[in-house]
């Protein structure tokens, strides 16, 4: 386990001078020892590049990488002692399950009896003891992935465990089980884990901290709660949460925020905002149905709804802008098409040019 520091690390695969095209734009970042981080973002946003930079599969175009206080930028992958799980299960097909799990230890020159004990210990946790003698090729995708994971865990001294969308190829039922096992193992070993995913639920259930990325940049870093409650940009508001955050275009006139003709109050409201493209953002979870007009209440027309089991998402439109409202199933559907929506001011945030003010 180690504290991992990225110091001004940036990478361009085609060595372009123009930084705007880089796969990873220069960034400074510290990953604390023993914590679990999730890297979240759409495909091609630089998540895997960060992982490969840490593990040494990619040598960054610029910047330094430190494990604790030691500069490892030029240390070869084999000596960095990183465990990495790839998106697709990577197993050594010519070996049995046992040989697969013991491979990292054999590479380290461990003694046979010590290897056996350690492999059985890990197999026990992963619940694959009965499959140790089998050929690794004949296993299902989820079991193969479990072995990839196991190979990362048999070493008791890894600097960090990096997981690159490890559950993508796993079918939904096994996903739940596997996720549970990964969590259990993280707890036991107290590893520094960096977990790449594009699934926000996965990220939120796993991680102590989330990093949302876009086009090679980290847009926001924080706990799942921070990202949900106070997204620092429209991008994060849209990316985290389902359905996405509502954004209502507003005008600021003489220290008042006006949505159409309705006056709105926001948590970060300062009326002295100037300029254009100002919006009020609010989570669909926090909008409530009001009986009639009042403070921070807007009028809307109900267009339809999605049934999500215990909750319903009302699809509304107000002043030409779409608004989603999440209500409990027990509340029932409103009888009238015309709704009054209460936007609590402590949950409303003012954004300009897509950024939180």
């Amino acid at each position: 386990m180690a504290k991992i520091t990225l110091s001004n690390i940036g990478h361009s695969y085609n060595k372009d001078k123009d930084q705007s095209t880089w796969a990873l734009k220069p960034l400074d970042m510290v990953w604390e020892s023993g914590k679990t981080y999730a890297l979240l973002g759409p495909s091609g946003c630089g998540k895997t590049t960060i992982l490969n930079t840490i593990s040494g599969l990619v040598t960054p175009y610029q910047g330094r990488l430190l494990f604790d206080d030691q500069d490892v930028t030029d240390v070869p992958t084999a000596q960095r002692n990183i465990a990495q799980v790839f998106q697709f299960p990577t197993i050594y097909r010519s070996m049995s399950v046992f040989e697969n799990l013991s491979f990292p230890l054999v590479c380290r020159g461990w003694k046979a009896d010590k290897i056996k004990a350690r492999v059985h210990e890990i197999a026990e946790i992963l619940e694959i003891t009965d499959k140790l003698g089998r050929s690794a090729v004949k296993l299902g995708a989820d079991e193969k992935q479990l072995i990839s994971l196991g190979r990362g865990l048999v070493r008791d001294d890894v600097s960090a465990l990096l997981m690159d969308e490890p559950l993508t190829v796993i079918d939904p039922q096994s996903k739940f089980e596997l996720r549970k096992k990964i969590k259990a193992i993280n707890k036991i070993n107290n590893l520094t884990v960096i977990y790449v995913t594009h699934d926000q639920y996965e990220a939120m259930t796993f991680a102590d901290e989330l990093l949302v990325m876009s086009f090679g940049e980290v847009i926001q870093r924080g706990t799942p709660e921070q990202l949900f409650e106070k997204p620092n940009s429209k991008y994060v508001g849209n990316f985290i949460g389902s359905p996405a955050m509502n954004f209502l275009p507003v005008q600021v006139q003489s220290n008042e925020i006006l949505f159409g003709s309705t006056k709105l109050k926001t948590n970060n409201a300062s009326g002295d905002v100037k300029g254009k493209s100002i919006e009020v953002g609010i989570r669909p979870e926090y909008i409530t149905l009001a009986k009639g007009a009042g403070e921070n209440v807007i009028e809307a027309e109900l267009l339809g709804h999605d049934d999500l089991g215990s909750v319903r998402v009302l699809k509304c439109v107000s002043g030409g802008s779409p608004v989603s409202v999440k209500i409990a199933r027990s509340e029932g559907l409103p009888a009238d098409k015309k709704l009054f929506l209460k936007l609590p001011s402590e949950k409303s945030w003012l954004y300009q040019d897509g950024r939180l003010i």
Partner: protein, 278 residues
């Protein structure tokens, strides 16, 4: 209708292809009377099989020529050239598949083409240079000399086949091995090579076939000490040797390749050639 046509075609073609071999095999078992008095085809009916041809080429009291030493020479030369080509060829191919080399505008693709271009050149162009080179190195008429020359022709085949094979193996395997503490050479020998048996088998088969059948370099670069089997068989033809002895020696010289083909065919059909890596 299609099936009938297909079966007919295959039958006719097989007969066409197999006939010379059948003819050689039957002739090798014919006594003198069955050869000189017009064509005979069916053993026991048209002629009484005899071992006179085989006795002449195999060691024993009736032996008229020694094919055992040439066989041994051929084995040494073929095995040596094949082994060197496979070891260095697959290492080169692995490098070309996984790493990027370059100098100015030249890169991996050009290096691969450079290798393959060795096969484009007709061997006769190389005969005199090789002769002079081996003479300088005092390797004329030695096993090592012939092995080195054959290797120069076999290595391109191995590189060319194995680059494609390694490209088809996912990079994640060697990346994973490196993450788990192997250097690139260890990653190659411990994880990639065990997966490459099918590719190495095919490449090795080509090497053995080309190496075993080589007449040209064996004829020009060796004299008496390293006489290989094909050269020895041709030499028999040069002296006035009866047809049944010629036929027996020809059949004898292809037996190792046919045997190898059967062994390898069983290995390949066991299904490890499939591409399912994940």
């Amino acid at each position: 209708m299609y099936k009938v046509l297909k079966a007919t075609f295959i039958t006719v073609w097989s007969l066409f292809v197999l006939f010379p071999i059948m003819w050689a095999i039957t002739t090798s078992f014919k006594p003198e009377s069955a050869v000189v008095n017009g064509a005979t085809f069916i053993p026991f009916l048209e002629f009484q099989p005899s071992l006179i041809g085989w006795k002449a080429i195999l060691p024993g009291p009736d032996s008229i020529t020694n094919l055992m030493t040439p066989t041994l020479n051929s084995l040494i030369v073929t095995a040596g050239a094949t082994a060197i080509s496979l070891i260095f060829g697959s290492l080169a191919a692995y490098g070309l598949s996984r790493f990027t080399y370059g100098w100015k505008n030249y890169s991996n693709a050009d290096i691969i083409f450079f290798f393959v271009s060795q096969r484009i050149m007709p061997p006769v162009v190389l005969a005199i240079p090789f002769f002079l080179l081996l003479k300088q190195l005092k390797l004329l008429d030695t096993h090592l000399g012939l092995i080195l020359v054959l290797t120069s022709g076999l290595m391109p085949i191995v590189v060319w086949l194995m680059v494609d094979f390694f490209n088809a193996l996912p990079r994640e395997i060697d990346e994973m091995a490196m993450l788990e503490g192997c250097n690139p050479i260890q990653a190659f020998f411990r994880t990639i090579l065990p997966l490459s048996k099918p590719g190495l088998t095919v490449a090795g088969m080509f090497c053995v076939i080309f190496g075993w059948n080589d007449v040209f370099f064996a004829l020009t670069l060796t004299a008496t000490k390293v006489l290989t089997l094909p050269v020895a068989v041709i030499a028999l033809n040069g002296t006035v040797t009866p047809y049944w002895i010629l036929a027996a020696s020809t059949v004898f010289s292809i037996i190792p390749l046919v045997g190898l083909a059967f062994v390898i065919e069983r290995f390949l059909s066991r299904g490890s050639l499939g591409g399912a890596v994940r």
